[in-house]
């Protein structure tokens, strides 16, 4: 018995020592993200529930007065709208990219470049395109014989400009993710389907969609979270009117007196993002962490 036990203990010891090395290798990176994200997040949450060192809900109670509810609604409108625009455009790009055609390399370069373009560059370009008076978009519209459009005329149209402008930088990522799914579908599947009399729409619904569904949920999760975080784009295009959650946070952060308000708003944003991620992970059935 003793003879058998000894090596097993030694093995366990060796095993745990081996794992210790792996854990030690992972430790610096893990410690880094804990130190620079979990701790700061806890600080923000803690401070948001305190007024003059006392536990209090006063920051939250005064949040509605700073425009919390409209800013949440606006954030949701921009996020959902932008996601729809990006998925539709990305699907179009991915479906084109899987087809062989002359100049496909140049095409994919052109549509992927915006992925690397800075958000501020994008925001600036779209501020030149969409102007109430003059501007590039109205130039085209007038040249085509239509009346110029007042882009920034209501809360909804302001948000519309932001959600549309967001497509440029962010569609390429969605397209690349969806392309990965589409390129794995064998073309013969489409051919046999069309021989069986399936039209383009039916082929799209029965072959394309099921094949990209898991990747679509990944794209929605990854993009959806970033969508709640858009900051630079609305800051340049619409400033603080209408407010979205991030501009509300920043506007109050930049004034010392209202800084606790920004902490409370930041906590609200954090909560929304957590709820969204859990929802998508549950619905999308994301046992999909890298295998």
């Amino acid at each position: 018995m003793e003879v058998q036990e000894e090596p097993s203990i030694r093995d366990t010891f060796k095993m745990s020592r081996k794992y210790l090395i792996y854990i030690l290798m992972a430790a610096p990176a893990i410690a880094y993200v804990i130190g620079l994200s979990i701790f700061p997040a806890i600080t923000v949450i803690y401070d948001s529930f305190h007024v003059n060192g006392q536990l209090s809900l006063r920051n939250y109670a005064s949040l509605p007065g700073y425009g919390l509810y409209p800013s949440i609604v606006n954030t949701l409108i921009v996020s959902v709208g932008a996601l729809i625009i990006q998925v539709v455009l990305a699907l179009a790009i991915a479906m084109v990219m899987v087809k062989p055609f002359k100049g496909s390399k140049i095409f994919s370069t052109i549509v992927i470049i915006p992925f690397g373009v800075s958000t501020i560059v994008s925001a600036f370009a779209f501020s030149l395109i969409f102007q109430n008076v003059g501007g590039f978009a109205n130039g085209i519209i007038v040249a085509l014989g239509f009346k110029p459009v007042t882009w920034f005329s209501s809360t909804l149209s302001d948000l519309g400009v932001v959600m549309f402008s967001d497509f440029w930088k962010n569609t390429p990522l969605v397209a690349l993710i969806l392309y990965g799914g589409l390129s794995s579908v064998s073309p013969s599947l489409y051919e046999s389907a069309s021989m069986d009399g399936a039209g383009p729409l039916s082929r799209f619904v029965h072959i394309t969609l099921p094949n990209i569904a898991p990747l679509l949920s990944i794209a929605l999760l990854v993009r959806g979270v970033s969508e709640f975080n858009i900051f630079a784009l609305p800051l340049v295009l619409i400033g603080y009117h209408p407010l979205i959650l991030n501009t509300l946070i920043y506007e109050n952060y930049s004034t010392l007196a209202t800084r606790p308000i920004s902490y409370a708003a930041a906590t609200v944003l954090l909560a929304i993002i957590m709820v969204y991620s859990i929802l998508v992970l549950r619905i999308g059935g994301a046992k999909q962490y890298a295998q």
Binding site: Y19, Y22, L24, M25, A26, P28, A29, I30, Y32, V33, L36, S37, P40, A41, T43, L89, V96, K99, P100, F101, I110, V111, I112, I113, G116, V117, S118, I120, A123, F124, A125, S127, V133, G134, F136, V142, A143, W168, L176, I177, Y179, G180, G181, P214, I218, L221, V222, F231, A232, L235, I249, Y253, A266, L269, L270, I273, M274, S277, Y289, A290
Partner: protein
């Protein structure tokens, strides 16, 4: 067998290419066409029929374009190298741990990746202030590291997991230590994931606005290119902004063109696979 290309596809290609190139086109026109055809008229010219370098030359004379670019370069390289320094060992370690532990760590990193930038950046800047890191290249880099590190770990870990297990055992049987196996055998085999992680970190840092804006706010001599560009845009300097935006986008265009084949969905989806 690929089916024959239908002519309809070229219509789609053309429309999409125009949509995706147009914003860049607008910047090119503003930067290279005399202002009397752009800001001097109600509707700016859509084709660069007359070209001038005067706008660009004036922009360089009037505002500082070089300083912010150099700082952005410094920040981007620190971010990229630090990501590898922390991410390569971490990716290896996590890939080697049991599935139960490694999945938990990955889920944890994934949640970190979702933290709203502004929510994290604000308290970080308060910490950094007491460490004298605000308004420094290092401070911006350390804050941005947080954005790129989870993705770097995912990519590197994926690279290690795709290697055959026997390979490492073989090297160990041959008498190599863990350290030398790691450096001489494994690292060269995952050079593509390493390259991808570095490029993505570099590009993310080059573009990053939120953390840079909070950690090194608009101080002309300290901010990176996106923050400086925001400053010029909000000061209503469109000519200088367009020139600046184009110059800062050139390295990105080159990188996308050169490394395009590495920019794949599987690397970009943050550790989630279909």
């Amino acid at each position: 067998m690929p089916s024959k290309t239908s002519p309809g596809i070229y219509v789609a290609v053309l429309i999409l290419a125009v949509i995706f190139f147009y914003p860049l086109w607008v910047l090119i026109i503003i930067a290279f066409v005399p202002t009397k055809y752009t800001f001097g008229v109600m509707y700016p010219i859509q084709l660069p029929l007359i070209i001038t370098l005067q706008n660009v030359i004036n922009s360089f004379r009037e505002v500082d374009l070089v300083g912010p670019m150099i700082r952005s370069l410094e920040v981007a390289f620190i971010v990229g190298l630090l990501a590898l320094g922390l991410g390569v060992p971490a990716g290896y370690g996590i890939a080697k741990l049991t599935a139960r532990i490694s999945n938990k760590l990955i889920a944890f990193l994934f949640i970190i990746n979702m933290m709203p930038g502004l929510v994290i950046a604000i308290p970080i800047s308060l910490y950094f202030y007491s460490l004298h890191l605000t308004n420094t290249v290092l401070g911006v880099a350390l804050a941005q590291e947080l954005v790129v590190l989870p993705l770097t770990v995912f990519i590197i870990m994926g690279g290690f997991r795709s290697l055959p297990r026997d390979l490492e055992n073989q090297a160990r049987v041959d008498g190599a230590s863990l350290g030398s196996t790691f450096v001489r055998v494994l690292i060269p085999l995952i050079r593509v994931p390493i390259l991808v992680a570095f490029i993505l970190s570099w590009m993310t840092s080059w573009d990053e606005f939120t953390y840079a804006f909070i950690v090194a706010p608009i101080v002309p001599t300290h901010s990176t290119f996106p923050v400086t560009l925001y400053n010029y845009v909000s000061r209503n300097l469109p000519l200088q902004s367009a020139t600046f935006a184009l110059i800062a986008t050139v390295p990105i265009i080159i990188m996308v063109a050169v490394f395009q084949k590495y920019l794949k969905g599987q690397y970009l989806s943050g550790g989630l696979v279909g």
